[in-house]
């Protein structure tokens, strides 16, 4: 993570369906923002570690998402594939404040540099 976080408002938590996801477009590709049944939110790259499947299109359960292409189950907390599958997707810091979602743009920008 870069030294200083820079939080940007990306929308209301309520604009994502419960157990659903939407994407945030960045120049380095899409970031998927998930909302769980418990109203937690997580941000991870919208790319499955398997074959780049769009994770935002999967089924959300507990703190995980099942990829729509070949059913890998990816942890939303760590971005890691679970079970027998191996691989990891990058996660991003995300905060909920007063019902709004805040994403660390500094980290996003750093990700872009790294990419």
């Amino acid at each position: 993570m870069t030294a200083k976080a820079k939080w940007v408002d990306i929308g209301a938590l309520d604009s994502i369906p419960v157990r659903g996801a939407r994407v945030v477009k960045t120049r380095a590709g899409c970031i998927a923002v998930f909302r769980t049944a418990e109203n937690e939110a997580f941000a991870i790259d919208d790319r499955c570690p398997h074959k780049q499947g769009p994770l935002s299109q999967g089924i959300v359960h507990g703190r995980a998402v099942t990829c729509p292409l070949h059913n890998w189950v990816i942890s939303l907390e760590t971005g890691a594939a679970t079970g027998a599958d191996k691989g990891q997707t990058k996660t991003y810091a995300l905060k909920i404040e007063g019902g709004r979602l805040l994403l660390d743009a500094a980290e996003v920008a750093a990700g872009k540099v790294a990419a």
């Binding site: 477009k25 359960h61 507990g62 996003v108």
Partner: protein, 832 residues
């Protein structure tokens, strides 16, 4: 020789060699006796059975699960029609025997049929006791004894009224729980101050009462019924203390009385029941009595275990084994109400020479009581936690001296050896003589021997070969542990494949419980069926969503987050995250207008590929997700709707040109295909559903490898089903022939509905048909016309809510969040 004289020869031969055995009553006891007899002496007797009930032999113990909706009658049949055919048994259903003539050696039924016997078996069971209070004959007052009673209760429960159950014993509580599950408002009346006062002390009686009340059943103890009130049918129950309880249904479950009237009229010795000796013969040596109607040494019985022992003795005697004798043993019983565990065994009446050891844990709702006499266990009652029941029952039966383990006795087998054992180890520690299945008297040694010698692999096999857990099923867990202990890792419990790791329930259980427990949302279902995960997984949620859609049309609100992405956005996701769009082309027909609209859309949205599919329509591939609503809006304008190329639902109806153009066509196959597609589109099914209609047996539409196919012929329509041409290849089965197009459509809709109701999620028609049997499907949609009409009716009803074009809805703004990003940071980043 003519046919007639041939038959004559056979029957003279039969009388010369075979004895005639007549059985009165077709309940659980004689059923078992005949099983044993056919095993010991096949072909020795010509058997005729008279049964007052108009049906085959079934498991009476399991009536409560039928009442609660957890089982269907077909699942509790012991001897289906085929059994009678196989063993050459003549069964008179719905025929009550009214007289026995011991001199002429004949019995006569109410319908006037007289049959001679060499040996007679009386097995008339019991009659429920009816308290003769005023009003006890009113319509709506029932006992709880046979399937007719259960059917009458289920009918009464349909109007969801109020039921009063008189009697708080095992039967009364099972009836109350079942009626409650069926949605009735239920009150149990019990004469004594606490429930089951014979088995439980007052404190434990209260625990039980609390558990019953927690299910929403009211309990009134010390309730003395004075009268049942009502004009033509029951309206209320009046108690001695003046309380008036409104009631649409009254169940009397206050006890049973051996049904010995017929035997008494025939001059046999009768006390409370028909008196028999150790060889089960009555005072007439050619007449046996078995079951609840029999009295042995002043004792009558109301549980199956001793009755099955009687059955074994009779079979031995009839097969010529004079040494077969009956020695009654202790019995054990369980309350069969899901969620309430109660087990009692042996003798637990209070007496001077007896001591009690009691363990009570009111917070955990556990009560254990062991009755000792001369340092031996003679009775045991467990409430809340009944896992040690088998171990104690074994101590009772063996009369083991427990002095050495008295201190820890009440904690069960886990402590008997000093340290606690896990359940499997506890089963492993049981002696070979320990009884596992009380109903069928099967001990551990018999089960383990059968497993090793016959190479049994699963629960069904063990049930089939040993009968263990084949009656009331409460010992199923023990039997499974035994299989595990015996086979070790080789045991793979395939009996019920759980839906997924979130539950132990299989698909069929879940579907049944959705109806039985009236479950109408995924969270409710997961709560009620004790899901192990907080919100399921990608395997169970789509299945549950389908089951709820199919069970509650118009009531259940579809949960789009439980659908696969294709069904959520009504297009097919591609490997690069773009989508493909396939509009319906009814029966494969299209027009210049549709083709022009497609061409325009392809150009306007820069769609990279256009392809004819294998399903006679056109696919536009590579559409960007955010363009989907606009693409659909344009296609809608030209009159096209979603082809559901993504759906576990109706896909395509392929057709050939038929009589419209083809020189061989026999019927309008294109027209029928279009009609079918217009009727069936929008319906959700367990897996995708593909149809085809060919105009003659040349079969250009490939109808004989589809889920449902029609081959037109001169005389009408041959309807086929259960074909496959994807992962598996399989020709269809013939469902039947109909003369008209209307009939064809009705049969196909009924077939589709049956599949919707029985199919497991993702199970194609051919797999479903293989599982339930081609014949049963045929029987239900071709032969049973009433059933077909009912299925068709349910399909038509559910289509009212299904035929809404999902594209039009989304083009109009529904689920807009799906097609737009939450935020676009590309601009912000650029501005950095």
């Amino acid at each position: 020789m003519t046919m007639k004289s041939l038959e004559l020869v056979r029957s003279t031969k039969a009388t010369a060699h075979r004895q005639r055995l007549v059985v009165i009553g077709n309940g659980m006891a004689p059923g078992r006796a005949l099983d044993k007899l056919f095993e010991a002496a096949p072909g020795a007797y010509d058997v005729t059975i008279f049964n007052a009930e108009p049906r085959v032999n079934y498991d009476r113990i399991m009536l409560s699960p039928v009442l609660s909706g957890e089982k269907k009658f077909e699942q509790i049949v012991i001897h289906g029609d085929g059994w009678y055919v196989k063993h050459g048994v003549t069964l008179y259903k719905g025929s009550t025997v009214t007289a026995i003539d011991r001199t002429a050696k004949t019995v006569t039924s109410a319908r006037g049929i007289t049959v001679p016997y060499d040996k007679l078996m009386i097995a008339t069971g019991s009659l429920p006791i009816v308290i003769p209070v005023p009003g006890h004959k009113l319509a709506g007052v029932l006992s709880y004894r046979d399937l007719d009673d259960v059917e009458a209760m289920l009918l009464a429960a349909k109007s969801r009224g109020t039921a009063v159950v008189i009697g708080g014993g095992l039967l009364g509580l099972e009836a109350a729980a079942g009626l409650k599950d069926q949605g009735m408002d239920v009150t149990v009346l019990h004469l004594m101050p606490t429930l089951m006062e014979r088995q439980l002390d007052p404190a434990a009686g209260h625990l039980l009462q609390r558990a019953v009340e927690a299910r929403g059943i009211k309990v009134i103890t010390k309730a003395n019924t004075k009268a049942i009130l009502g004009e033509k049918k029951v309206e209320a129950v009046l108690l001695e203390d003046g309380t008036r309880l409104p009631a649409d249904l009254v169940i009397m479950a206050v006890g049973i009385r051996p049904n010995a009237g017929l035997a008494k009229d025939a001059g046999l010795d009768v006390g409370r029941g028909i008196q028999v000796g150790t060889d089960m013969r009555t005072s007439d040596p050619d007449i046996f009595a078995v079951g609840e109607c029999a009295e042995f040494a002043g004792q009558t019985y109301g549980l199956v275990a001793p009755l099955y022992e009687m059955a074994t003795v009779i079979a031995g005697q009839l097969a010529g084994d004079a040494s077969a004798t009956f020695t009654p043993s202790v019995t054990a019983t369980r309350l069969k109400v899901t969620g309430i565990n109660l087990f009692s065994a042996g003798d637990f009446a209070d007496a001077k020479d007896r001591e009690d050891i009691v363990l009570r844990d009111a917070t955990r709702g556990i009560y254990k009581r062991v009755v000792l006499k001369d340092n031996k266990v003679i009775g045991a009652v467990f409430y809340g936690d009944t896992t040690d029941g088998a171990w104690f029952f074994d101590l009772i039966k063996k009369g083991s001296d427990i002095t050495a383990m008295r201190e820890t006795l009440i904690f069960g087998p886990s402590y008997a050896g000093g340290s606690a054992l896990d359940p499997t180890a506890a089963v492993a520690a049981l002696p070979d003589e320990a009884e596992i299945c009380g109903c069928n008297g099967v001990c551990k040694g018999k089960i383990t021997t059968a497993i090793t010698q016959l190479g049994l692999k699963n629960l069904d096999d063990v049930r089939a070969h040993t009968k263990a857990s084949a009656s009331c099923g409460t010992c199923t867990g023990l039997v499974e542990q035994l299989i595990k202990v015996t086979l070790g890792d080789a045991y793979n419990p395939t009996a019920v494949q759980p839906m997924c790791a979130c539950t132990n329930l299989g698909h069929d259980d879940v579907r049944r419980l959705i109806v039985a427990k009236d479950l109408k949302s995924i969270p409710d279902l997961m709560q009620a069926l004790e899901w192990k995960t907080s919100c399921g997984c990608a395997k169970c949620r789509p299945a549950l969503n389908y089951y709820l859609v199919a069970t509650w049309p118009g009531e259940y609100a579809d949960d789009s987050q439980s659908r696969y992405i294709n069904e959520r956005v009504h297009a097919n996701i591609q490997k690069d995250g773009t989508y493909s769009v396939v509009p319906r082309m009814w029966g494969g027909m299209t027009s210049a207008k549709e083709l022009r609209a497609i061409a325009d859309v392809v150009e306007k949205f820069n769609i990279p590929s256009v392809k004819c599919t294998g399903g006679q329509r056109i696919d536009m591939l590579g559409v960007k997700k955010q363009d989907l609503p606009a693409v659909w809006a344009d296609l809608n304008k030209a009159g096209m709707v979603s082809g559901a190329a993504y759906a576990k639902g109706l896909r395509t109806v392929k057709t050939c040109v038929g009589t419209d153009w083809c020189r061989f066509g026999t019927q309008d196959s294109t027209g029928l295909g279009v009609k079918l597609e217009k009727f069936l589109w929008g319906s959700w099914t367990p897996a995708k559903l593909k149809l085809a209609v060919s105009g003659c047996p040349r079969n250009c539409a490939e109808a004989t490898c589809k889920d449902i196919g029609v081959i037109c012929v001169d005389s009408g329509y041959d309807i086929h089903f259960a074909g496959a041409a994807g992962l598996d290849i399989k020709g269809t089965e013939v469902l039947g022939h109909v003369a008209t197009e209307d009939e064809a459509i009705e049969v196909i809709a009924a077939l589709t509905q049956l599949y919707r109701e029985q199919g497991r999620y993702l199970e194609r028609v051919y797999k479903w048909a293989k599982r339930v049997g081609i014949d049963t499907v045929r029987q239900q949609v071709m032969d049973d016309v009433e059933r077909r009409k009912a299925l068709h009716g349910r399909f038509v009803y559910s289509q009212k809510f299904a035929q809404i074009d999902p594209w039009a809805e989304r083009a109009a703004g529904k689920d807009a969040h799906e097609f737009a990003p939450l935020a676009d940071l590309t601009f912000k980043e650029a501005a950095e």
